[in-house]
Amino acid sequence: EAGVTQSPRYAVLQEGQAVSFWCDPISGHDTLYWYQQPRDQGPQLLVYFRDEAVIDNSQLPSDRFSAVRPKGTNSTLKIQSAKQGDTATYLCASSFSGGSYEQYFGPGTRLTVL
């Protein structure tokens, strides 16, 4: 069974540029999460979906960040006008709400904003 896949694996931007991250969760997982992990810190939840619905986006900087999951499968996280403080690894995870508590993480996208 394929795990969670993410692309790109790396991105380097100048401040003010936009970037999109893409996530393909494990087949059959109805819940999808986006986390931000700054260097040498634990992951911090940004937003999560159950099917196509946003359940919690309270930690998403809404003025520059957006996330969608239009068909309840793949998801895209977009940063408009990136800032140096956005430098971090962006992790996608998925889980099945009717199963165990385990979240399965992808390898992440390492973003550097210069």
Binding site: Y33, Q41, P43, S95
Partner: protein, 110 residues
């Protein structure tokens, strides 16, 4: 002990030794999750302990949970070089919304 505003902690031991990592949490949780993260990869769940359990074992791993002091520990017996990783504890009120600690960088020296 991880949590709070501290940065990632580092711990270095010799192969074959035992090690314990501690975690204290501030909010109500029904489950404590322990994840390990290898360099360049996402976190992976290694053991999970529920609020009605005091101890959980899986191979060389042992997790404990004390809900009265809001603390958990992860012990590794006879550490091996392949145990080198960053270890995180995380809490949740249910299946969603994990809150991760700062993590412990564990280095096993051959």
């Amino acid at each position: 002990s991880q949590w709070g505003e501290e940065n990632l902690q580092a711990l270095s031991i010799q192969e074959g030794e035992d090690v314990t990592m501690n975690c204290s949490y501030k909010t109500y949780t029904t489950v404590v999750h322990w994840y390990r993260q290898d360099s360049g990869r996402g976190p992976a769940l290694i053991i999970l302990i529920r609020s009605n359990e005091r101890e959980k074992r899986s191979g060389r791993l042992r997790a404990t949970l004390d809900t009265s002091s809001q603390s958990s520990s992860l012990s590794i017996t006879a550490a091996q070089c392949e145990d080198t990783a960053v270890y995180f504890c995380a809490t949740s009120e249910g299946a969603d919304r994990l809150t991760f600690g700062k993590g412990t960088q564990l280095i096993i020296q051959p």
